[in-house]
Symmetry: C2
Subunit: 439 residues, 2 copies
């Protein structure tokens, strides 16, 4: 019943080309060299790099590429008939990466990519070409780095209807939040430390505004729910507006602040949002430190699955890329999104305002008579009931930080209360609103 060749038949090596040799590409070369024999045993055949291509041949990458054929033009990798798999590590949602990916698949070559932006924006188109050509498209490294979460959901949890998938999908943000937590630092100070230590880019917006996490979330959602990948439906707010007091008050309320990407079914519709949340201390996401990533999937039979590991870096990313290559070498692969593209459902975006939950609200207000009444009135008028309320003592005349947690209510109600308050002369800056993660 199996299409697999007998294990006694020796199989020819799988011939791989690497496009884009930066930090990750260097990691893939090192991994394939260091674990060469072990990988051949596990894959049932040798995996050989036959060609590499990158912009600058003479750049020092810390790995010796002398043994491999060099191509200045990536297109040559597609044209070569001694290449089975193209590994795309060029980056960018469009441009040369996308051209290469399309051409490689169209030529019937297998494509392995770590490019979350490209998969989030063009994953369905690429999957369609892969299906037409009956060739693999694999992207384990695009979500949560070294954690094999694409495989765990696509295959490990495949028997389940999944209700929610969520997690810490950006290591830079988690590193910054952990620093704020440990050192009581401001966002700006923690970001500067993260930049100094190489955990954040000079322009950090892709990470701290939630864009990167949104790409990963859109991919996870399509896989979990069998829906058409729709990056346009993901809304994202990042961690820039957090202040040290948010971390401190969350802790006082028995929670930790994490940037959570969450996709959830709501009837036929889908809620997909990236935002800072309060995570209860008895949830494993509260214990994910530093630059790690973690993903939770909730299935109707398996219950809650939790996966944690390194979300970025040369070694972990290379681990995921080479796992994909080994799957291809073993002929253990199937449709990129677990089912043919045409059978994915189009899910409308859920009404985020209708989403019921508890919320954390933090306001900075002038220390004046009547401010408290103003807040309480706005909440009451919007039918928002308050579960806990913290106002710390401060030196007279200083601004006051007020943190409160609501009872369950629709997001829309809180929005109305904050809109009403925004008219107040006593409010200093924008209020901070975070959902509390429901267990």
């Amino acid at each position: 019943m199996s299409p697999h060749p007998s294990p006694s038949t020796p199989r020819p090596p799988l011939r791989v080309a690497l496009a884009g040799i930066g930090v990750v590409g260097g990691g893939v070369v090192r991994l394939l060299e260091a674990n060469r024999d072990l990988i051949a045993r596990r894959a049932g055949r040798a995996i050989e790099i036959v060609a590499v291509s990158a912009r600058d041949r003479h750049k020092d990458r810390g790995v010796d590429l002398g043994a491999y054929r060099w191509e200045d033009d990536m297109g040559a990798l597609v044209a070569a008939d001694d290449i089975d798999v193209v590994v795309e590590m060029v980056g960018g949602a469009d441009g040369p990466a996308l051209t290469l990916a399309r051409q490689a698949l169209s030529a019937g070559k297998a494509l392995v990519t770590a490019n979350k932006a490209m998969i989030a924006h063009h994953g369905l188109d690429l999957a369609r070409i892969a299906e037409e050509k009956d060739t693999p498209l694999k992207y384990e490294a695009a979500v949560a780095g070294g954690i094999p979460v694409i495989k765990a959901i696509r295959e490990g949890a495949s028997a389940n209807e999944i209700a929610r998938v969520y997690g810490i999908l950006n290591g830079t943000c988690n590193y910054i939040l952990t620093l704020m937590e440990r050192e009581g630092a401001s966002f700006a100070a923690a970001l500067a430390s993260a930049q100094a230590e190489g955990y954040a880019e000079a322009d950090p917006s892709f990470d701290v505004d939630g864009v990167d996490a949104a790409h990963k979330l859109a991919i996870l959602a399509a896989l979990c729910f069998g829906t058409r990948l729709d990056i346009g439906a993901v809304t994202a707010s990042g961690i820039r507006d957090l202040i040290a007091a948010d971390i401190r008050e969350a802790e006082a309320l028995g929670h930790r602040v994490r940037l959570i990407g969450m996709a959830e079914r709501s009837g036929e519709a889908l809620y997909q949002h990236v935002q800072p949340c309060l995570v209860p201390a008895d949830h494993p996401l509260a214990y994910v430190p530093g630059a790690l990533n973690a993903v939770v999937a909730e299935g109707n039979f398996v219950g809650r699955l939790f996966f944690e590991g390194a979300g970025a870096g040369a070694g972990p990313t290379a681990s995921a890329i080479v796992a994909d290559i080994i799957d291809i070498a073993r002929d253990e692969y199937g449709p990129a999104f677990a089912m043919p593209v045409d059978s994915l459902d189009a899910a409308p975006a859920a009404d985020a305002g209708a989403r019921i939950g508890k919320y954390y609200v933090r306001l900075v207000v002038e220390d004046r008579v009547g401010v408290l009444a103003e807040i309480a009135t706005a909440m009451r008028d919007a039918s928002v009931s308050i579960e806990s309320f913290i106002q710390r003592g401060n030196d007279e005349g200083d601004d006051v930080v007020i943190a409160l947690v609501t009872h369950e209510c629709p997001a829309r109600a809180i929005g109305a209360a904050l809109d009403a308050l925004s008219a107040s002369d006593h409010l200093v800056g924008k209020p901070m609103l975070m959902p509390i993660l429901a267990l």
Copy 2:
């Protein structure tokens, strides 16, 4: 390059027979019925139960089996030519389960099993038959219940040389330890609660003596290290000898007590041991509560991967079994132990006495002059250096609990110190020795 049929070709249903319909079998029936359409979309074909077999046809199982052909004799499942996959849920390392498994594979049928004892004792023999017949043998449910850890290691971490694999492999023990932690309960009281709540069997020895965890560990080790599965090489000590003070003092020392199965490379040799350990509070295993399972694998490129979920129960076990069936339906499978049986290495058992680490030692002694000196002398004579030492005040005349943590030393040295102390008249009962999990 792919042997896969084109996605546009409709494929016939995959025909499944279930052998042994207890709690887990009932879960599989319910799952395949409840998620039928979703599974067909993901598997690319329908998955149909065509026959069931169990000892007693008339037992109430809470599921309606009327739609399926009933076979009193399991052998009929093997003989039938309308069955592609046999799911073995009979249980027991030998006997009818093993006979069925051998016959099914020999007949060229796919075998899916949740039977950890059978795989631990006969996995290699079964894998060899599966190879000869080029048919799948899958056992995701045999280790850590619903967590797809076999897949995560076999495929997700396949690019890595793995240095250690370890985890909480028995939910009953973890449930008992969590109760002892929360309530300060004795082992006996916690076991009684676990039995009353259905988390422990009337005869709990299989769980609390570490036998069940040893089975799972042996399977993980073979997969991680590419070594011949060798249940005889796994040593196990359980949690019966723990007292409430152990949990309390571990906490005072910044640790939690967990029953840990660990397999570790030591040159060519392999260390495989199940025993209670002190887990540092900054390790994710310290936060695994109740009956959950968790597995850690450390790879040379990916770093530390951590997986947590339900380790038992009808739903999670069924989830793992059906995931295996879906892999078979998709033709996404390969050698049971990731490589052909003949290419697995025979690894000698590592010298456990030579294992370097920090250790926790707890002694109960009579409250007499000179006892402390006796302990200190025994440790000194064995060249064991002490890092921390706790002796709690007590009412005069009562026995005294002493808990200490050593600096790094070989296990053999601690053994020598405890041997010397065993001659003492002042020692009450057996000392408790637990390694401290190294990060």
